[in-house]
Amino acid sequence: MSEMSFDAKSEREMAALEAGPVGDLLRSTGGAIYPPAELAARLEGRLRAMGAEGAAPVTGAGKAGARTGDGRSRLYTGNAQPDSSRLGLRVPRLAWVGLGLAAMVVLAFGLAGLFGAKVGERAAGTASDFVPQGKVRHIVFEDRYAQSTITNTQFTDSYSSTQGVWLANGAEHLIMFALGPSPGCCERHWRLVDDDAVWFYVRPRSTLTTTNPTNRSFMSNVLKTAYDPRHFDGIVPDKALLDNFLKMPGYSLAGAERIDGRDTIVVQSAGLARSIEMRAVNGVRGIAVVGFELWPELGAIFTSMSGLATNDQAFDSLTGHPLSTPTAASGPGPGVPSLEITPPRRSDTYRNEVDYRIWFDKETYRVLQVQVTTTSYGGLSDGMVTRNMRSIMLDELLDASAVPADMFKPDVQEGEEVQEAYSALVRQAMPYADATPVTPVIVELAVPGSVAAGEPKVGDLAPDFEVADVMTGKPVRLSSLRGKLVVLNFWGMGCTPCTSSMPIMQEVHDTLKDKVAFVSITSGPRYDAAKVKQFVTGNGYTWTFLDEGGEQVVFNAYRAGSIPTFCFIDATGVIKAIHRGAMVAGAIPGENTLKYYLNQVDPNITLMNPLGVPAPNNPGWYVFTSPSGSYSVLMPQELVEPSGRDGWDFYGVREGEALTYISGFKEYGQILASGDANDHLEMILPEVETFMNGTARPNPAKIALGAHPGFELMLDRADGRFMRARVYSIGSRAYIVYAIAQEEQALFTAEMDSYLDSLTLLR
């Protein structure tokens, strides 16, 4: 090795290389290699045989044994143990915060100045530019959608990543509470956003991602595993902790049963124990990521049981069962009963969840039994996560040396405002964030925000370029298309939302080719022109396809950070609208989103009927049905605008000077459209209806599986300023948000009620 000194500059350069495409390439290569299953099985048999032969290692009772001799002490590190006397049970939300802190993973860093987009340096926005232009005060963001829009044959790209991008845009701090493991969407996101995005994927110890090895292609399954107490022998939770535990939102007493002649208390999670997924983009200055592995004890149980099973294969070998074909041949160990595995149920193929059910001995509080229920999509294996992750030294981040256990120890006194707890989090994150002092509190969203430097905005002249046509090989210059409306479409072949948009494009192209020029462009090393050509020919698409190769000059110029991105450029070369996300047909019967856009950006193009249908009994009013059809709203026509955001309900509802977008219930619509999980739909819709009617809160138990959050965002119509964000959930998960900030809940409830009052709900 070289004797040269490795200075800070080299270190920085190396870290940049690691974090950049080279690191990505190496990581994804590693992540692609798996040991053959037969090796794993053979080797395990071999090891077991060695153990049985008595080839036992030299006993080493010394240091290690002594250090972990106390069953409890090893489960906690210092102050991570919640102090119930201080937090108190009278204010469970604080207790909850405290407990959350006990196990949370907190990452903090600063991005200011790195992208040349200082906070405070604001670009003018317009109402039609759907990037919120505000300094986001704070966003409580439950990241579930990317996961839940996955169907059995495809996944719709990164609903949440897309939202994540623009929610984060210009945010001072972003505090995200994200509970959904959605690794499936991350790849293209960070890869394309490239230097302006940071992607975190944090997998808490207790998350087990399972897939069905016999049909991993997005076939999901439900695994119910009852662990034998011997798997976690000796782990005895503290009674006070259990008491607290039971008071925590998200866990509930599920009754009492007798196990092995012992009376037990059964505690049921409400789907809280999940992976944490975080991202920050475009100049976010501080991030606090708060993970919800609520109970460290529980984490320890799973850690000790699983040996940190971090991917499906490990999990397969851990359980000794291929998940779909239970066998008794390789159970968890001699004398230990085999795992109980229920066959996959198609109707549960909805999301990836891990729920716990824990049986405590009523007297001793020993854990007698734990049941893990995992509902998961196939294909979302840890390997994929590893491959996809643009990790900034993830190991280190997860390591206590990077994030000391006491890093966040907010001194929240009983009765203090919950926001203070937030502030404390952020304050303590600061030393780990940018050295630049930043206001360590959640700031009011007020100032028009910045978009990433150089990002083309609506109203800008579209950056010109010249790229070869994949069909003819001849260069096509964008500016040569002036005189027509140009729809510039950034896409990739592996991107289902991209390709699913294309039949819609073809349909519109067929009718409008004289007025509108469609140009689809690919980039990146994975898809060369020949493959694109084959694709285009095979599908019979007739508009223009370009491929710019691996340099991503055009993609970068347009900041096509997520695909598909559609850029609508008018006859004079000015960008009229940008749409990130797929074009969707049938959101409104017989129509598609591309038509809406064309209608919007060019007054000379009329492709479709008014958005709503005339209300039969209310002259002048129209009925607007949500994309999913789950609810309809009666409104005057002029109050409605297309939202222009994939994943958000199609209507922006004008309220005075504000324009509100509702994330709504689109996912169900998509699931319905794909013909998948109709069972869920049937289960959920009545609850949605109940919710929307405002007559009662939904029954959490009834829709536990279908629980999902919604978002509502209000933008100022005049300048696109981001005025307000709301998060709401249906079902048990709502408690998460609410417990953190009950003030927010109250605010939300009041606002939501008043909002609902302002609409007439038909269903």
Binding site: M1, M4, S5, F6, S10, E11, E13, M14, A15, E18, P21, G23, L25, L26, T29, G30, A32, I33, P35, P36, L39, A40, R42, L43, L47, R48, M50, G51, A56, P57, V58, T59, G60, G62, K63, A64, T68, R74, L75, F109, V198, S217, A300, T303, S304, G307, T310, D312, Q313, S317, P332, S381, G383, M384, I392, M393, D399, A400, S401, G494
Partner: protein
Amino acid sequence: LANTLHLRVEAKTADEDERAALTEAEAVSTDAVRASKGDVEAFIRLYRGHLVHVYRYLYARLGHKPEAEDVTQQVFERAWLSVGAYRPVAGGSFRGWLFTIAHRALADHFRVGARGNANLALDTLAEELMDPALGPEETAILADQVRVVLRAIHDLPEDGREVITLRFMAELSYAEIARIVGKKEAAVKMAAYRALDTIRRKRRSGDV
């Protein structure tokens, strides 16, 4: 950004090292301790948790399935035979310990094996190694990538090759890698830096 954070991460105190050790102990303590006392089931749980990385590391270095399987088996056999002596150390992890064994087993393999280090047999069907979750297109692309990237790693000088493999296949920290290869952390990082830069240049020129 990554730079900033990384530097911060590296600048840890001895105190934090100790804490890292505790956390590591939390993660695998039960099993590592049990295994060190002769509990083969505990060891098998550890094995299951680490098999993928050990295999990735060995496959990346050998590029040959049967050999990678052989050495993988040796690694875990040796690990079982010496796990009784395993003690958590400050700043170290069980995986780090395991890879010390893997590193030596690989060196032994090169020493006694008929095939020299120079022969990277990348003619095996890398497709077989892919996650079966992937579709055929993805598999083909990834298998291609694996071949090309492993070739590029193989073309690195030995120190860079080992460090890069330990870093990206075994996913170890530089501190752990330094312990494993018996070099200073700065030297390990230097090697990694040069290797990464080489790969970057190859990537630029389209070789990777």
